[in-house]
Point group: C2
Chain length 202, copies 2
Amino acid sequence: MSTTTSTRASAARERIVETAFSLFYARGIRAVGVDLIIAESGVAKATFYKHFPSKDDLVVAYLDRVDDVWTAQLKQAATAAGDAPAVQLVGLFDALGTACRRDGYRGCAFINAAAESQPGTPVHDRTVAHKTAVLSWVSDLATQAGARDPGGLARSLTLLLDGGLASGSLDASPEAPRVARECADALVSAALAGRPSPAAGR
Amino acid sequence: MSTTTSTRASAARERIVETAFSLFYARGIRAVGVDLIIAESGVAKATFYKHFPSKDDLVVAYLDRVDDVWTAQLKQAATAAGDAPAVQLVGLFDALGTACRRDGYRGCAFINAAAESQPGTPVHDRTVAHKTAVLSWVSDLATQAGARDPGGLARSLTLLLDGGLASGSLDASPEAPRVARECADALVSAALAGRPSPAAGR
DNA sequence: TTGCACATAGACAGATCTGTCTGTTAGCGT
DNA sequence: ACGCTAACAGACAGATCTGTCTATGTGCAA
């Protein structure tokens, strides 16, 4: 087992991805050159290109990192709200509020990346995959909650979530996440009306 | 009166803005160089820089153009749906469906532009101004409709709209706009429950 | 000790991008 | 007929960006 190797490789690679995470998000992907990332992460150019044969490879790694982080925050917010799926569907919106409040918040990294890439490219595909994964997770939750139309409810909620993510950076007020959460609450309640049992129906 | 002058000036300027409109939207702002716009619009470089001293000036003109077009489409969809404000609040979502169906659709030009610019710059400010204007228009409509909480309703609806605009480009299915519209319908009905009169209440 | 895998340092090529500058051409009003 | 203004054509400077290449250093294992 090449523990030593991969550990050492990780050190440089990890620094690169970490730096890319900050810079790409804060300034945009095209606005940040590899030279800056190399300088900022204190890595040699050859090392950089050994780990990431092209800039796009790093961008993909960046998006994978964002996916890990954001998905974890969503799930954490959901479970923190309670055990019942219906409660979790609303609770996940707390992650939105937390994200928008963080300073340096600049919207959804995926939507931003999609804005800078063409459909059909690996980078753009990553965005689609992420949004699909979130939708499917919310859909499962809606099914477990016993919603009348789980797919439709999930779609509505993710629409609201994406809207909140997009608006949050254009609007200093904390109103957007709050309204999104309240709105989600109303939608979930409506979708569950008449089947208030904690366990899924039938 | 310099009618002649401004008419002539318009010809070149108009071609530039029109070209920028297509290219910036389709490929992203940073991805399109001024050289390409100059070539594509068949204009001399000196002429370009006479009308737009810097690329950013053109980007601002581009966003102003998008604002005109999109705002008109929203209002057209709203009035086409009917005269009652409550109906218009839902009807405006038809513009979303139409936009998403157009091919080459690549999300909201403003959100995309914001993704490529820094807060505090003229370009970014344009985005904020646009979103603020839409919110305020929807808010007026909600007030006229006699909604319980016009501001909150307007916020919810624009959240849904932005979410639809963002998701629409990541998701080939026409489901997002449809769900957004249905969801808007539910929200408007809920906000108006108990005051079904076409004229605002009290 | 010798070799190997990984890292550093930084010069370099080639493309591209923004913005400037020079010189020429065409239409319009006086 | 003349001059003004806008437009055209395109070379040029300077910066920046991606990606390659050479030369060197370092720690671990056999």
